[in-house]
């Protein structure tokens, strides 16, 4: 399989001005996405999911963000004649370089697209939605006529199953429902048939009844356009049937990754098991929901990175956990970062 995005040893930290400290938001992230693969990144709030998405798009505030490691992107689109390899982030001899804006502009919306969490604030309130879709097409196709662009927009609206596309074209965001706007955002993201679509909690701000519809639409369209999907969510149940691979992110570290089937049937890391127990499910009706006690460790304190990151909340911790930073232990394709599996391999 063709790899399109490769992230190696990625570290991202923010400088927090008010505390005058560095916040180590992502540490040692390794992941690879192949052509048309659908992956999910699951974790609770503040675990760094959105930062990871923003890092792939290089949308973090440049002044206060520090990167190290590698993010490599390999475009495979035939329609685009750009170079065949982009180093978004590269660290050589301790010096980190990030891709310049011009190249990044070429990637954004063209090769890598993103759908945001809150559809209501994602669109410009004073520009009609049709014009906002047009923009993304215009940004990357310079020689299309006005009529062509208009037709493309209408076609996109049909594709994301919006009723009466011609009518919606001239509407403003406040005249549409959240579900409709999210469909438009998905349309914008897929307009140029990108290799990768990042969906950052695309259903969190929507009605519960819409969640499945939007996720289904996303997965359906991604397959249709031959794109890869990075679905970011805190709701592990949401992705049960829609992705191939799952990465569990905890406090800025990937603690377990495996195929979706494995994660749901055979979770290994204590955090994953707890996460599955926490989620609402019909079978748990009448029972008290599990919660995970305590909070994240302080990510500005470098001491916590020397032990297992889940140490303070883990129900299965043993003595060694406090002194040894676990590595990934493999069970075939299933990898888990927990010392309990040291001898089980």
């Amino acid at each position: 399989m063709e790899s399109i995005l490769e992230i190696r040893n990625l570290n991202v930290s923010f400088f927090v001005k008010s505390k005058n400290k560095k916040l180590f938001i992502l540490r040692d992230i390794n992941l690879e996405i192949f052509k048309t693969q659908k992956i999910a990144i699951v974790g609770e709030s503040a675990s760094g999911k959105t930062t990871l998405a923003n890092t792939i798009m290089l949308l973090n505030d440049k002044e206060y963000t520090y990167y190290s490691g590698f993010v490599k992107f390999y475009p495979i689109k035939n329609s685009c004649s750009c170079q065949k390899k982009f180093y978004e982030i590269i660290t050589v001899n301790g010096k980190t370089q990030i891709l310049d804006e011009k190249n990044m502009r070429h990637l954004r919306g063209n090769h890598i697209s993103m759908v945001f969490q809150d559809p209501f604030s994602a669109l410009n309130p004073v520009v009609s939605v049709g014009k906002q879709v047009e923009e993304v097409i215009k940004n990357h196709n310079y020689n299309l006529s006005k009529k062509d662009i208009y037709n493309k927009v209408i076609e996109l609206f049909y594709k994301v199953k919006l009723p009466q596309p011609e009518h919606i074209y001239n509407k403003y965001p406040h005249q549409l429902s959240g579900g409709q706007i999210q469909r438009i955002c998905i349309g914008i993201a897929l307009a140029n048939k990108p290799e990768i679509l990042i969906a950052d909690e695309p259903t969190t701000a929507l009605d519960a009844s819409l969640k499945d519809t939007i996720i289904n639409l996303l997965t359906e369209l991604v397959v249709e356009e031959n794109s890869a999907l990075i679905l970011i969510t805190h709701d592990i149940n949401l992705i049960k049937n829609s992705v191939d691979y799952v990465f569990i992110l905890y406090a800025g570290e990937i603690v377990e990754y495996a195929s979706a089937k494995e994660i749901f049937e055979n979770p290994k890391h204590p955090y994953t098991t707890l996460l599955l127990e926490c989620s609402v499910d019909k079978t748990k009706k009448g029972k008290k929901l599990t919660t995970i006690p305590y909070d994240f460790p302080d990510l500005t304190d470098e001491e916590v990175f020397k032990k297992c990151i889940f140490f303070n909340r883990c129900p299965k911790k043993i003595k060694d956990c406090e002194f040894i930073k676990p590595n990934f232990y493999s069970f075939g394709q299933h990898k888990v970062k927990c010392i309990l599996y040291e001898n089980e391999r």
Binding site: N110, A122, V126, V136, Y172, H174
Partner: protein, 322 residues
């Protein structure tokens, strides 16, 4: 839409009557009367004084005087000035062009530089460029305009002798050719226009900077960037259109200043505008003239608000489709 406009017009009329009544009360109740000048003169007999007071209707009670004024006002008759007995409306129209010229020029400067500096400061916020502009902005915001005016008059007019210090025309204006006449007026305008615009530029820059930063931090800007939109387009097309909405209100509110003129400022520069006319009218308790000027200013303020509302409907689709 029609309903909103109709409602606005009704409100407009009520507010207008209220303003004119309160202004009338305030000037009539404030100490000093137009007849004060006569009071201390020994040459004028008591009977003559009484006659004059009666002639101008100053012996009647306040509410009747207001009513009389109002009846005449509806017929668009502002009465005659106490001072020289010329119609008020004529005196105002004489001064209007000069004031319009000065203030429209200064308004253009304010909006051009205010928006320009505001955007630059927001885009380069906390960087060197922003800091240096902000420094000068604060400086020009805090310097009292009348002080700066006098200072500039001394420096450019008296010491350097490159700019005239007062008025709108030179003494020999009549004898100049057309081109020289234009140059003469431009020279006279430089100081008043620049100094009166300075405070406005400073205020607007801060305002635009603040609201631009707020817009640039919003989610839709991030989404626009994620679409691969170039930065200048993100700033000018997406963010600026949203910044424009509150600016419309400022445009509306600055309309009365354009016509009303700045009282103190025009007096310092001996500028033949509405502001100085108003100042002189107040000093001599010229009631009809004061009423004329304040009513026109009030009318324009309300009109400005009304136009701002209409503009609002134009720039903000959220208002348009309610």
């Amino acid at each position: 839409m029609v309903k909103i406009i109709f409602k606005r017009i009704i409100l407009f009329i009520i507010t207008f009557i209220g303003i004119s009544f309160i202004t009338f009360l305030v000037i009539n109740l404030s100490p000093g009367k137009p007849s004060d000048m006569l009071e201390f003169s020994s040459k004028i007999t008591y009977e003559a004084k009484e006659k004059i007071i009666k002639l101008y209707g100053l012996d009647k009670p306040l509410h009747i005087r207001y009513f009389n004024w109002f009846v005449r006002f509806i017929k668009l008759d502002f009465g005659n000035s106490f001072k020289d007995d010329r119609p008020v409306i004529k005196k105002i129209l004489e001064r209007l062009p000069a004031t319009l010229l000065l203030n429209i020029l200064s308004l253009i400067l304010i909006f051009f530089f205010g928006i320009f500096f505001g955007i630059i400061c927001a885009v380069y916020r906390n960087k060197f460029l922003d800091k240096i502009i902000s420094f000068f902005i604060f400086l020009s915001y805090s310097i009292p305009k009348y002080w700066l005016a006098i200072l500039c008059m001394i420096v450019f007019g008296i010491k350097l002798k490159i700019l005239p210090i007062s008025g709108l025309r030179s003494v020999n204006f009549e004898y100049l050719t057309f081109l020289e006449k234009c140059l003469d007026i431009i020279k006279h305008l430089i100081l008043p226009v620049v100094i009166s615009a300075l405070g406005g530029i400073a205020g607007l820059t801060r305002y635009i900077r603040g609201s631009m930063i707020e817009q640039l931090n919003s989610e839709y800007i991030k989404f626009a960037i994620s679409k691969g939109t170039p930065k200048n387009k993100v700033v000018l097309k997406h963010a600026f259109r949203n910044v424009l909405i509150p600016v419309v209100t400022i445009v509306g509110l600055s309309l009365p200043e354009v016509i009303g003129g700045a009282f103190i400022f025009e007096t310092i520069f001996a500028y033949p505008g509405m502001g100085r006319l108003g100042y002189e009218a107040i000093m001599s308790r010229d009631y009809p003239l004061i009423m004329g000027i304040s009513v026109i200013t009030a009318f324009l303020t309300l009109l400005g608000n009304f136009l701002a509302d209409l503009l609002y409907i134009y720039v903000d689709p959220r208002v348009r489709y309610k």
